[in-house]
């Protein structure tokens, strides 16, 4: 529980490491934006609610992308929110394209960049056939890796390219570099029979990357585990393995295990309650996937476009009648 090194850090470093100032600054600028309301409401109370919502992870709802990716906690909160909001997509067995998943992401964060969604889709689809349909859980776990470890993956891609072209990845000390260089020179392009790079060499590079990096990296013991099971691997093969790794998912701590991804009894109960209320009031709102969304505490206006954008291309694999009935 106690990590004593935090007590010996200089003050500013401690605050930076825990992102205290990021939140304090954000709180103050939020306060300034709504100063009329807040000065009546009470400033201490505003701060209390702000920090409580940060603690609960609801603070990232409808915020700008730069804020959402500002801290690891924000990223994890965003992933959890995305999962909770659109769980129903996975439950109904709907398969969506990258573009459609992007629509969903934009409902939570209007300026979410398409590039990230595409990168995540590339992990699922192994870099080809970008308009293919993906299941919710495949996309979610790939997206998690891509979003949470974004900077790490960029560096990994650079290292991979270097290894592939036979260059010694610069700034990385690789003990076995001569043999690695030799072999990868034999396989200059991706279409060669020896696909990808040698796993052990790759691991050495990644290990030193993790040591240096100031961004979040997956635990290097787990990376080692992923890489030690194969001889050679491709970039997307590696990312796919990361995305599917239970340990990495657990270490990240935003999402439940894959098996439990669609299970959430308390939420189901609440959903049912809400649905029965809605039908009792005989308001003709679209049920099904929107029910989940209604659980969210805040503004609901942005949800509308979802159903239009989603329905155009839904490929229901016939798993549920629920999807059918909710359409009518």
């Amino acid at each position: 529980m106690l990590s004593p090194e935090r007590l010996s850090l200089p003050g500013p470093e401690y605050l930076a490491q825990r992102h205290v100032l990021t939140y304090m600054e954000d709180a103050v600028s939020q306060l300034l934006e709504n100063r009329e309301d807040i000065s009546q409401y009470g400033i201490a109370r505003f701060f209390t609610e702000y920090f409580n919502s940060v603690r609960q992870g609801t603070h990232i709802l409808f915020r700008e992308f730069s804020f959402i990716q500002a801290t690891p906690h924000n990223r994890a909160s965003f992933l959890r929110t995305f999962w909770r909001c659109f769980r129903a997509v996975g439950k109904n067995g709907d398969l969506l394209t990258a573009k459609e998943y992007h629509c969903l992401l934009q409902l939570l964060c209007p300026d979410f960049p398409m590039e990230l969604t595409q990168k995540a889709a590339r992990i699922v689809l192994m870099d080809d056939a970008m308009d293919c349909l993906m299941s919710f859980s495949d996309f979610l776990f790939a997206f998690q890796i891509q979003f949470y470890y974004s900077e790490f993956l960029d560096s990994v891609a650079a290292i991979y390219q270097d290894l592939l072209t036979g260059k010694n990845p610069n700034t990385v000390i690789v003990p076995t570099s001569s043999s690695g260089q030799h072999r990868s020179r034999l396989a200059p392009s991706e279409c060669s029979p020896l696909d990808g790079v040698e796993a052990s060499l790759f691991y050495h590079c990644l290990e030193s990357l993790c040591d240096r990096s100031k961004y979040s990296c997956p635990p290097s013991a787990l990376v080692k585990e992923v890489l030690s099971s194969v001889q050679r691997l491709t970039f997307y093969g590696f990312l796919m393995a990361l995305a599917k790794h239970h340990g990495i998912n657990r270490a990240l701590g935003a999402l439940p295990d894959k098996g439990d991804l669609l299970l959430d009894p308390p939420m189901d109960q609440e959903l049912e309650k809400l649905l029965s209320q809605v039908s009792g009031l005989s308001i003709s709102t679209p049920a099904g996937s929107s029910g989940d969304i209604a659980n969210l505490p805040t503004r609901r206006s942005p949800w509308k476009p979802l159903h239009h954008c989603q329905k155009v291309n839904i490929e229901s694999d016939g798993s549920t009648d629920e999807t059918e009935s909710s359409e009518n």
Binding site: L7, P12, V20, M24, V28, Q40, A44, T48
Partner: protein, 313 residues
């Protein structure tokens, strides 16, 4: 007081630093912190200043002015100071409860009735002493003295000081939240309690509070020690437990801790090699295998600790 000023300076440097990378309002905040070169350390209830510059302001004031006048600047400063003092593991939760406390203690302050007010003061004192871990000594001492002040202010009747009753109550409350068994706690309390009507000087107060926290930590440590000994099975071998306890006793035992070298001696006696040797020897003894359960182990371990606590007289 000296380190408080130091922290303030630190914070000032820090907010200027932060301004470079941060958004507009922060720069403004930083600049208004600079202007306030000699901050009066607002304490306690004065923090939540009523916001006068509200809806009916004459002209749109600048953001920095707004922050200054509405008390945001000083509130943020106080909060960051507290964070820096306490260095909590989870600063966000820490800040959430810090501000919550401000809301609660703010408007109705000491207006509540005597009985009710005392309860509130107790809760507040408890909050103070828990703000910082006791290993972070200056922060902890600071907070303990805040708690002491908080308890000694007794409504309108001016009879400052903390009496034995409220002191004991505070100690009990501290211990309740740990996982220490009740029996153990009462042993400790018997040693460090004062009589109900007695006035408790600050030294004693601090000593008592600190002892409670150290005890809680000791119990937690002993608990994890047992986890190692029983290897997840729920029962540990009695011989090994006894060996560990004996080693612990030996290390704590005879030595007089006013001499610094004894700390090193105790440390070396508890080193892995020394301990492993003792455990190994215990296992080699051919005796019928008994087991020792967790309660018994904790009781024996804490008894060693409590024996070392100097009683108050």
């Amino acid at each position: 007081m000296a380190d408080r000023r130091f922290l303030t300076k630190l914070l000032e440097a820090l907010s200027q630093d932060g301004g470079k990378v941060a958004s507009l309002p922060t720069i403004k905040m930083a600049s208004c912190e600079k202007r306030r070169s000699a901050p009066a350390p607002a304490t306690g209830s004065g923090l939540v200043e009523p916001v006068r510059a509200g809806a009916g302001a004459r002209e749109p004031e600048s953001e920095a002015e707004f922050l200054l006048q509405s008390g945001v600047t000083s509130m943020v400063r106080e909060a960051l100071l507290k964070v820096l003092e306490a260095r909590p593991e989870e600063p966000v939760s820490f800040l959430a409860s810090y501000f919550e406390k401000l809301v609660l203690s703010g408007p109705q302050g000491g207006a509540a009735g005597d009985r009710h007010g005392q309860q509130q003061r107790l809760v507040r004192a408890l909050w103070y002493v828990r703000l910082a871990h006791h290993s972070h000594r200056t922060a902890f001492n600071n907070n303990v003295s805040m708690a002491y002040e908080c308890l000694s202010a007794r409504g309108r009747r001016k009879k400052p000081g903390v009496n034995g009753r409220i002191y004991s109550e505070l100690l009990k409350k501290i211990c309740q939240d740990g996982e220490a068994p009740e029996e153990v706690v009462s042993f400790l309390l018997r040693k460090i309690q004062c009589r109900d009507h007695e006035a408790v000087p600050f030294d004693v107060f601090r000593y008592g509070v600190l002892s409670c926290f150290v005890l809680l930590e000791f119990v937690a440590k002993a608990d994890t020690l047992y986890n190692v000994l029983d290897d997840g099975s729920g029962v540990a071998d009695k011989r090994v437990c006894q060996a560990v306890l004996d080693t612990l006793e030996d290390a704590l035992g005879a030595s007089d801790f006013s001499v610094p070298i004894h700390y090193l001696e105790a440390g070396s006696k508890l080193g892995p090699d020394y301990l492993a040797l003792a455990m190994d020897k215990a296992l080699l003894e051919r005796k019928i295998c008994f087991s020792m359960n967790r309660e018994e182990f904790l009781k024996k371990a804490t008894a060693l600790f409590i024996a070392k606590v100097k009683p108050i007289d």
